[in-house]
Amino acid sequence: MTTRNRTPLYKKYRDALRSVRVPVASCSPSHAGPSSSASSSSSAGRGGPVIEMVSTSLLHPNRSYAPVSTEDPGNSSRGHLMVGLPPAWVDLSEEISANMQRAQTKISELVKVHEKALMPSFGDGKEDQHTIEVLTQEITDLLKRSEKRLMKLSPSGPSEESNVRRNVQGQDGLDFDMNINGTVSNMEDDEFVDVGFSEHQMSQLKRTEAFTREREREIAQVVESVNELAQIMKDLSVLVIDQGTIIDRIEYNIQNVASTVEEGYKQLQKVLSVCRENTEKRRNGYVCYHPCDNVLHYASPPNTKGDILLTKTILKR
C-alpha cells in the first residue's frame, strides 16, 4: 500500500504563489476596493492569517473584481460562507449521540445493580429494587427523548442538505438500535427478578392483597415498557439500512439523486414544450412569457438546483 504525500510540495507552490498574488490582489483593486467599501476592510487586509476577518477581506477585492473577470458564477453563495455555522440539526444530532452515550453508561450501571440484586443477601433487597426501577425509568426516558429528536431530524425539502440529514439520521439510528437491543434484555431481567422475589415472599409470608396489587402494577409497567419498545423498534426499522443490498451501494445513492434531478428536468421540458405550443397557437410570444414562467415557478420545488435548471431551460429558449 504505497501512498505519496504531495502536501509539502503543494504548500510550497501555494506559498510561492501567494507571495506573488498578494501584491497583485491589493494593488489593482486597492484603488477601487477600499475607497468604495468601508475602510475597515483595507486595514484588516494587511493582517494576514486571521480567521474570520481575512475571509471577508479576501472576498471584498474579489467582489469588486467580478464585473471585470466575468468568471464568477456563484457570487450569491459567498454570503453564506462567512456565516460558517452549521445548521441547527447538527446540534440535534450531537444531542442524540450524547444521550446515547449517557444511556450506555446507565445501562452498564443497571447491569451491575442487577447482578448485585441477584446475589443472595440477608436484606430484602428493597433498595436494589428501587435503584433498578429508577435507572430503568431514566433509560427509557433517554431513549424516548432521543427517538423524538431523531424524528425531528427527518429531512424536509428536497436538497443535498436533506440527503446529509437522512444519512446522519441513519447513522444515529444504527447506534440507537444497538442500544435498544441491550436494554430489551435488561428489561426482561427485571421481570424475572420480580418473579423470584414474589415466590420467595409467598413461601415466607401470607399473601396480602396489597402485595398482589403491587405486583399487578409492576407487570402492567413491564407490559407498558415492552409496548413502548415495540413502538420504537417499529419506527426505527424504517431507518436501519439493509446491508449488502443495492440500497447500501454507494453509487446507487448517488445515481438516485441524479436520476431524480434528471426526471425533474424532463418534466420541466415537457411543461416548456406545452407552453411553446400554446405560444404558437396564439402567435403572440411576448404575452405568453409570463404565464409560462408562472407555470414553471409553480412546478419547480423551491430549491437552488431547480432554479438553476429553470434558468437554464429559459435561457435555452
Binding site: M1, T2, T3, R4, N5, R6, T7, L9, Y10, K11, Y13, R14, L17, R21, L58, P73, G74, S77, H80, L81, V83, G84, L85, P86, P87, V90, S159, E160, E161, V164, N167, V168, G170, Q171, L174, N181, V184, E188, E191, V226, M233, V240, I241, D242, Q243, G244, T245, I246, I247, D248, R249, I250, E251, Y252, N253, I254, A258, T304, K305, I308
Partner: protein, 565 residues
Amino acid sequence: MVLITLVRDYIGRMLQDIPGMKVLILDSSTVSIVSVAYSQSELLKKEVFLVELVDSMSKETMTHLKAVYFLRPTSENIQKLRRQLANPRFGEYHLFFSNILKITQIQVLADSDEQEVVHQVQEFFADFCAIDPYHFTLNMQMNHIYMLPAVVDPPSSHSFCDRAVDGIAAVFLALKRRPVIRYQRTSDIAKRIAQETAKLMYEQESGLFDFRRTEFSPLLLVIDRRDDPVTPLLNQWTYQAMVHELIGIEDNKVDLRNTPKVSKDQQEVVLSSEQDSFFKSNMYENFGDLGMNIKTMVDEFQQITNSNQNIQTIEDMMKFVNNYPEYRKMQGNVSKHVTMVTEMSRIVEERKLMIVSQTEQELACNGGQVAAFEAVTKLLNDETISDIDRLRLVMLYALRYEKESPVQLMQLFNKLASRSAKYKPGLVQFLLKQAGIDKRTGDLFGNRDLLNIARNMARGLKGVENVYTQHQPLLFQTMESIIKGRLRDVDYPFIGNHFQQGRPQDVVIFIVGGTTYEEARTVALHNAANSGTRFILGGSVVLNSKRFLKDLEEAQRISRTSNAV
C-alpha cells in the same frame, strides 16, 4: 494482501484521519472503484454523510462539512477542482488522487486555492476496480480501440494505453512491488503498454517504485485478448460467469429490470463475494450444483421462518428482535439468488443453450471437422436458435477450422448471412483478420505441437466429467508455463535487460481487451490450491460475448471508414 483489502485500506486511511462530518466527492471512475470495496453503511460509520460526483453543479454551501475528494488525476478533474476551489463550498478540502500527479497539475491547483482551504494533497494508488480478490478491471469505455492499429485514431489509442499503464502501475504500487515485464510479441498494443509501463517504473518514477527487493522479482505479463478469442465467445455454466453471460454484471451489480416478474426491491441486486457468503462459496460452482445448494439454502431459510412464527414468551420475542436484522438479510439473499437462478433457467430454456453450448464446447475442445460442420449447419437451420448464438457458432467454427476447408467455411458464411437479418456482413472475416491463426501466439486449440496433441488425445480417452465445462481457457496453459518456467522468451520477450530467475511468487497478468469470468475462475481456483505462485488477473474490461461482439463491430466500423478515407 489481495486487491479488495488493498482498496479498502486505502479508503479507510483516507477517511480515518479526518475527524467530523465529511462529504466524499468522487468522479465517474472512482465511484466504481470505491463502491465495489466499500458500502454506504460503512461510509456512514466513518461519518461520511454525503457522497457527490465531482461534476455536480450544486451551489449549496455546507461549511460544516469537510470535503474529501478522491479523483483520478485527469485534466478534466483538475479543471473542475480548480473551479470549485475558487469558490469553496465546504469547510476543509482534503484532496486524494488515485494516481501520480503531474507537477504542473499541483501548480494549477495551488494557484486556484486562493483562500487556502486545501489541507492535504495525497496520492493513494487505488486506481483499479477490484471486483474480486484476484481480479481487477479498469472499466474502459473505448475498449474496442485495442483492435485498431495506433495510426487510425492516435489520441484514443494514446489515452487507452495511458489508462492501462496507470492501472497496472497502481496495482504494483498498492502491492509494493516492482516487476520484470514481459509481453506477447505478436501484439503491438501489448508491446506498447509493456514498454510504457517499464519506462514509468524504471525511469520516470523509479524512486516511487524502489521497494525492498524480494528474492524473486514478481512478473507482469501483458497479453492480448485476440490471442484467445474463443473464451469470450463461449456460453458459461459456472455461477458468476453465467450471470455475466446471460444477464450481465457491472461492478458487481446485476440489473434485473428487464426480467419479467421481479419484485421491486430485486430489480437491481449486488453480487459481491465480499458481502455475500453464499455467493462466495458458489460463484465457481456449475449450474447443476448451484441448483442443489440453493435448494438447501431455501430449506434452511424455511426452517428459520417457521421457528420465527411461534413467538409465545417474551424470551422468544427478545430472540426474534435480536435476530431480526440477520433474518432480513437472509431473506433478501435467498430471494436474490432464487430470482437470478430462475431467470437464468428461463433464458437457457428459451435460447436452447444446452444444445448450443454442447456444440460450442465440441468446437472449442475436440477435433473432427466433418462432424463439427454438420452440427453447426444443423443448428443454423434450426429456427429456434437465436441470432447471436448462430453468429457465435460460426465464429467458433471459423476460428477452429480456418484453413481446413475454405469451401465449407464459405457455405456457413452464406447460410448465416441468409438466416440472420441482424448479422453484419464480414464480421466473422474481420474476426479472422484480427485473431486468425496467423496472428495468434499461444497454442489455442492445442494442436500445434506433438505434446499438446498427445495431451488432448489422452483427455479424450479419459472422458470428460461435464460436457459443458470441459473448456480450459488458454490462460490456464500460460499460467502453467509460468510456474514451470517454460514460457518461451521468443514468444513472450522481456523488456530491458531483466530476466526471470527462479519461480516468481507474484504474477500479474494483464489482458489488453478484457478478461472473462471463466479466466478469473481459473486464476482463483489456482490460487486456492496454493502452489506458491499467486496470480492476479486484470483487464481493460470484463467481457461477455455480447460485449466482445460489440467491440468487434465497433472496431470493424471504424476500420472500414478509415479505409474508405
